[in-house]
Every structure is written in structure tokens, then in C-alpha cells.
């Protein structure tokens, strides 16, 4: 599990670094080209764009060079896909996909589905999420809450699933206008009911208390 999480984290970092156009060159003819500046001196500016092309502009053509700052849309639909691990008495893997809507630069809400496992039972969590971003910037801390139902994936006769809820504190960083990376840590609770055959109405109630760490991508 630790190896898997490490691999995924490296992938996210690689994507973010490789995809990041960190500068923008504004030409006197009005054109703007985003990319990584390789050289900027008296002779001119060399710029490598995302497709690998290298552009060379003379000093006379260039109006200015600026640092690229993504302009993230404040309203609209988003998707956040994260993986995580929940620790405590037992380690549980978690995959969540949330589709939702951002009302402004701070508030957003969505509906999520995923896959989780507590002890030997596998579940599909179905939940709603509310999220508040503290800053109107490309990098912002956030707090989010979820509440929903853990639907059992098997043993429907005995496994009744139950409520799940949690709170997360994290950071989202957008490295382009449409893609960002999100990391968070928080607390998860679930109350799961498993019926067994010893006697009628004999239930084992699992109150799950877990510390949760998540990492994922945001698309909007």
C-alpha cells in the first residue's frame, strides 16, 4: 500500500511539474506564448512550449516576459479524484470520485462515489461533499466535509452498510487553468452493521474511527 501511494504521488508531482507553463512571453504584435524560458538575454528570448517546440525571439520582437499565473474559473463544474488511506486500528484503502459545482471561488458542493474497505468488507461509499476554500488564489487551503452511506459490495443479506462522514483539511494547488493537485488529511467515521446468524436480530456494530490522508487531482 505504501509503495502504491508513493508511486501515485510521484506521478502527480511529475504531471504537475512537466505540465506547468511557468512563463508567458508577450510580443509587440500582440501575441502571447506560454512556456518555459530557456534563455533571456541581450540577444533575445528562447522559449520552450508544452509541445517541445523551441521559439526564438529577437529583443526587438518582445514586449515583455512575465511569470504565468493560472486563471482558474470561479464558477462551474469540477471533478476531484483522490486516493487515500485510513489509519487507526486497521488500514483501509479508499478511492473517491466527486463531481460537483463551484458556486464561487470559495464554496463548492458535489456528489461522490468510490471504493473502500473496512476489515474484510468492501463498500461503495455514496456521499455528498461540501467544500470551502479559504483563499481566492491558485494555491489555497480548504476544509471539506462529507456525509453519506457505505453501500456493501457483497454479502448483502448480512452486511447492511451504514452511515459514513468525515472532515478534511487540505490544500489545492492549480498548475494550469483546468488541472490542480489536492492533498488533505482528516478524520473519518463510519457506523456499519453486520448481521450474523447466531440468533435473530443479532448485529455486530462497527464504529469506525480513522485518521485519513488523501491525494488526488482536480479537473475543472
Amino acid at each position: 500500500m505504501k509503495n502504491l501511494l508513493g508511486f501515485v504521488f510521484i506521478c502527480f508531482v511529475s504531471i504537475s511539474v512537466s505540465a506547468q507553463p511557468n512563463s508567458i512571453v508577450k510580443l509587440k504584435n500582440g501575441s502571447e506564448i506560454k512556456g518555459e524560458i530557456l534563455k533571456n538575454d541581450e540577444s533575445g528570448v528562447q522559449l520552450k512550449t508544452r509541445d517541445g517546440s523551441v521559439w526564438i525571439f529577437s529583443k526587438e520582437e518582445v514586449a515583455s516576459t512575465e511569470k504565468f499565473i493560472p486563471s482558474v474559473s470561479r464558477k462551474g463544474f469540477y471533478n476531484r479524484s483522490t486516493i487515500g488511506v485510513m489509519g487507526g486500528d486497521d488500514f483501509s484503502p479508499s478511492l473517491q470520485i466527486v463531481n460537483g459545482y463551484s458556486f464561487n471561488s470559495h464554496w463548492e458542493t458535489g456528489i461522490g462515489i468510490g471504493f473502500e474497505q473496512f476489515y474484510w468488507n468492501k463498500y461503495i461509499p455514496i456521499f455528498i461533499e461540501g467544500k470551502y476554500s479559504l483563499l481566492n488564489k491558485t494555491t489555497s487551503p480548504f476544509v471539506s466535509m462529507i456525509a453519506g452511506y457505505q453501500m456493501p459490495l457483497s454479502n448483502f443479506n448480512s452486511n447492511k452498510g451504514g452511515f459514513t462522514g468525515g472532515i478534511q483539511l487540505g490544500i489545492t494547488h492549480y498548475f494550469s487553468n483546468h488541472i490542480g493537485i489536492s492533498t488533505s488529511a482528516g478524520y473519518r467515521f463510519a457506523q456499519l452493521k453486520v448481521m450474523n446468524m447466531w440468533w435473530d436480530d443479532f448485529a455486530t456494530i462497527q464504529q469506525i474511527n480513522r485518521f485519513e490522508i488523501r491525494v488526488g487531482l482536480v479537473f475543472r
Partner: protein, 416 residues
């Protein structure tokens, strides 16, 4: 330093998150009635609404319906189109009954009571065998563990359900509840049987039956013969242990046919004080009432809450050689409960498939010869007698005129 602090804080958080695993179950806690109060003579009360599905029994023009653990409804059924509920005989813990001549025999928790019904509206208790069913307990609606019973406190006449929560493990474990005892949910219940002059007819789900001058009662795994030659002084013989889980008794000539969870077994009552094993036909696990007519017996086997197994079928068994019964044919059913036979007509209460009537002119093909089916009647037991089928189901008692099997007419009903 900050990183170390953060790491330590993370570890502390991780170790602070503990799951809480709890077992939640219910226990039947016994509620006692002292012996003196319990053994007050039974009362005949004014007619009451029938509220539960219990055993049915007919004798002459009367229909008797057991209200489990409470008593027996007396109904004048001289006109099945207009049955008259005469009254209610209050018998604590009654779940089974049988009648010979003018005496009604019923269990009352741990006792057997004999009631003179010469005057049907003024029955009176004439004798009682105390503590003949020492393990008897009230009907349990659910299969819950039972709290320890202290017989010094009296007779257990009801249950109080108590919820218990106790710590468990992620892999569920249960180490029995404190002060609980081993007790089977199986108790008396009843179906249709008749034998000997002067006796009545029961539904096919009964643990009471009378052969000649003996009443036989199935009490857990013991068959108890009771000499009723003198009804005012019945004498219990030594019980006979049966090695299977018996659910129903059916008398035929001098034989007792027992429906068990693992097959049908036959005992002879040539020595009435000590019935002896004759033969058996085994089947897979399931609940199975039995009826007999001529050289054939009919057995329904079903699955259900307390009836484990995977069989839902009607078995036809040839008993022309009583020492060597032969299973002739099995017919698939939905979830058959009680059954009854009258002439060439076999009636099967088939769960949600309703009441089915088969032509049993040729017993070995009866399951293929469906004459009629009442799909909207979830029947559990039946007494077909003199062209009137008395059917008890989940929601009431129904009486049908079956003189014309292709056009059975509903005569009357009691809704629960």
C-alpha cells in the same frame, strides 16, 4: 524540529483513532407466575377475536382454534356458512390439543390439563398432570437466547425482551450471554390427525394425537404416552426418546407417523405404553408434516426460518409394507406447509403459491394432476372433512365447500 513535531503529531493522531466493535442482541428474560396462581382451574370466557395463527381441530360440529400460549376458541360450526364463536377457553401456555369423547386434552406450559366439554359452553377442568412437560416455555416469536430459568420462582409464562450491547472484536465473536441457558425454540405446535372412535380431527401440524385409549404428545425429543382410559385420572407412561427432531404426529391404524426434520419415521403402538420404531424414509433437512390414506402417505418438506435445508417438495411414499416404506415420487412445490387428504383429493397449503388441490386417484402421479389453486390464500394448514375445507392462513380462517372441486365456494371466514 518542526518536521519531527509534525510527524509525532501525526503518529499520535493515528494511534488515537480506535474502532469500537459492539455486539447488539436481544435476550428472552423469563417472567414467572407462581405455581398456585398458574394452576387455578381453566376459565371459559366470552368469545374473543381470533388474533393469531394457531392449530385447528374439529370434533363433531365444533371447530377449535388454538390461540398460541393463551387458550382455545370454541366455534359452533354446524353451519360452516355461519360459524358461531361460542367462547374462549383460557389455558395459559396452550399450543396443542386433542379430543376423545367429551374430554379435551391440552398442554398448559408444564402441565397437561383434561377438560370435560360435555357442556360445550361450560367446560370444566377435571384433572391435571403436573410437570409432565418440564421444559415447556412460552412461544418465542424470535430465536433469541434465553435467560436462566429458576423454577423455584414459578412457571415461565411470558418473556421480557432485553437488549444487550457488549464489546466484540472485528472478527465477530460471541461468548454466550451471561446467565443464559441452552434452549431449543422448538415447542408444541399442531396439525391434522384423527384415529379411534370418538376422537376429533386435527390439522396436519400437531404434536398431539390420540390412538385408542392413549394420548401421545411429542415434547422436544420425547414421545410421551398417556393412558386416558379414565380421563379424570390420566396416567403418564415412561417417555420414549426419539433420536430425530419430530415436528408432527399423524395417527394411522395403530401406527404413529412422525414428520421429522430429516425424514418420516413410523412407530407402532401395539404396546401402547411403549411405542416402538418400525421404519423410516429419510430426506434432506426440512420441515415436514405427514398425512396417510390407504397404502400411501404424503409428506410435504419445506425450507423456512427454523426449517433449514433446500427442499420444497411433496413426497409420496408407499407404505403397503409398513416395515419397508418406499419413496415413490417427489413433486416440486413452492413452500408447502400443512396438507390434508379427503377421498381422492389432496390439499396442499403451498406458502405464497396458495392452496393447491390435486387429484390423488393415482397417488404416484398426484403432484402432476392439479385440479384447482387459490393463489391469493397464503394457507398454512387445512382440515378437509365432509366436503368442507377449513383452512388457516396468515390472515385468517376460511371455510370452502369443495363438493365441486372445480368450483370451490368460500362459505365463511374469520379474519385475524
Amino acid at each position: 524540529m518542526k518536521k519531527t513535531t509534525l510527524f509525532l503529531a501525526l503518529i499520535a493522531l493515528l494511534s488515537a483513532c480506535h474502532d469500537k466493535i459492539t455486539n447488539r442482541y436481544f435476550t428472552c428474560i423469563p417472567v414467572y407466575t407462581d405455581y398456585e396462581t398458574f394452576r387455578q382451574p381453566v376459565n371459559f370466557e366470552s368469545a374473543k377475536t381470533i388474533s393469531k395463527n394457531g392449530n385447528i381441530y374439529i370434533k363433531d360440529n365444533y371447530l377449535f382454534v388454538i390461540e398460541p400460549d393463551a387458550g382455545i376458541h370454541f366455534i359452533n360450526n354446524e353451519n360452516p356458512s355461519l360459524p358461531n364463536n361460542l367462547g374462549f377457553l383460557s389455558i395459559k401456555g396452550c399450543t396443542g390439543m386433542s379430543i376423545k369423547d367429551n374430554y379435551l386434552y391440552a398442554n398448559s406450559f408444564i402441565d397437561l390439563v383434561v377438560i370435560d366439554i360435555t357442556s360445550i359452553t361450560a367446560p370444566n377442568e377435571v384433572s391435571r398432570i403436573e410437570n409432565i412437560f418440564p421444559q415447556a416455555v412460552p412461544v418465542m416469536e424470535k430465536n433469541y437466547p434465553v435467560g436462566m430459568i429458576d423454577k423455584n420462582l414459578g412457571v415461565v409464562t411470558s418473556w421480557r425482551y432485553e437488549e444487550t450491547k457488549e464489546k466484540s472484536e472485528p472478527v465477530p465473536v460471541w461468548n454466550n450471554c451471561i446467565n443464559c441457558m441452552e434452549l431449543s425454540i422448538s415447542s408444541f405446535s399442531s396439525q391434522n390427525t384423527t384415529s379411534g372412535s370418538g376422537t376429533g380431527t386435527s390439522g396436519s401440524i400437531t404434536k398431539f394425537t390420540i390412538i385408542n385409549n392413549y394420548l401421545y404428545v411429542m415434547d422436544y425429543n420425547q414421545l410421551k404416552p398417556i393412558n386416558i382410559t379414565n380421563p379424570t385420572a390420566p396416567v403418564a407412561s415412561e417417555p420414549v426418546s426419539i433420536w430425530r427432531q419430530v415436528e408432527t404426529l399423524f395417527p394411522h391404524n395403530d401406527y404413529i407417523f412422525m414428520g421429522t426434520t430429516s425424514g418420516m419415521i413410523i412407530y407402532t403402538t401395539v404396546n401402547p405404553d411403549m411405542p416402538q420404531y418400525v421404519s423410516a424414509v429419510d430426506h434432506m433437512t426440512g420441515c415436514d408434516p405427514v398425512v396417510v390414506q390407504g397404502d400411501y402417505c404424503y409428506v410435504t418438506i419445506r425450507t423456512g426460518n427454523t426449517c433449514v435445508g433446500e427442499l420444497d417438495q411433496l413426497d409420496v411414499i408407499n407404505i403397503s409394507d409398513i416395515n419397508s416404506p418406499v419413496l415413490m415420487k417427489s413433486f416440486e412445490m413452492e413452500n408447502p406447509h400443512g396438507l390434508g387428504i379427503s377421498g381422492n383429493s389432496l390439499f396442499v397449503c403451498d406458502g405464497k403459491d396458495g392452496l393447491k388441490i390435486f387429484d390423488a386417484t393415482n397417488p404416484e402421479t398426484c403432484g402432476d394432476n392439479l385440479i384447482h389453486q387459490f393463489k391469493d390464500l397464503e394457507a398454512t394448514d387445512i382440515i378437509p372433512f365432509n366436503n368442507v375445507a377449513i383452512v388457516i392462513g396468515e390472515d385468517g380462517i376460511y371455510q370452502y365447500d369443495y363438493s365441486d372441486l372445480s368450483d370451490m365456494k368460500l362459505l365463511s371466514s374469520f379474519k385475524f
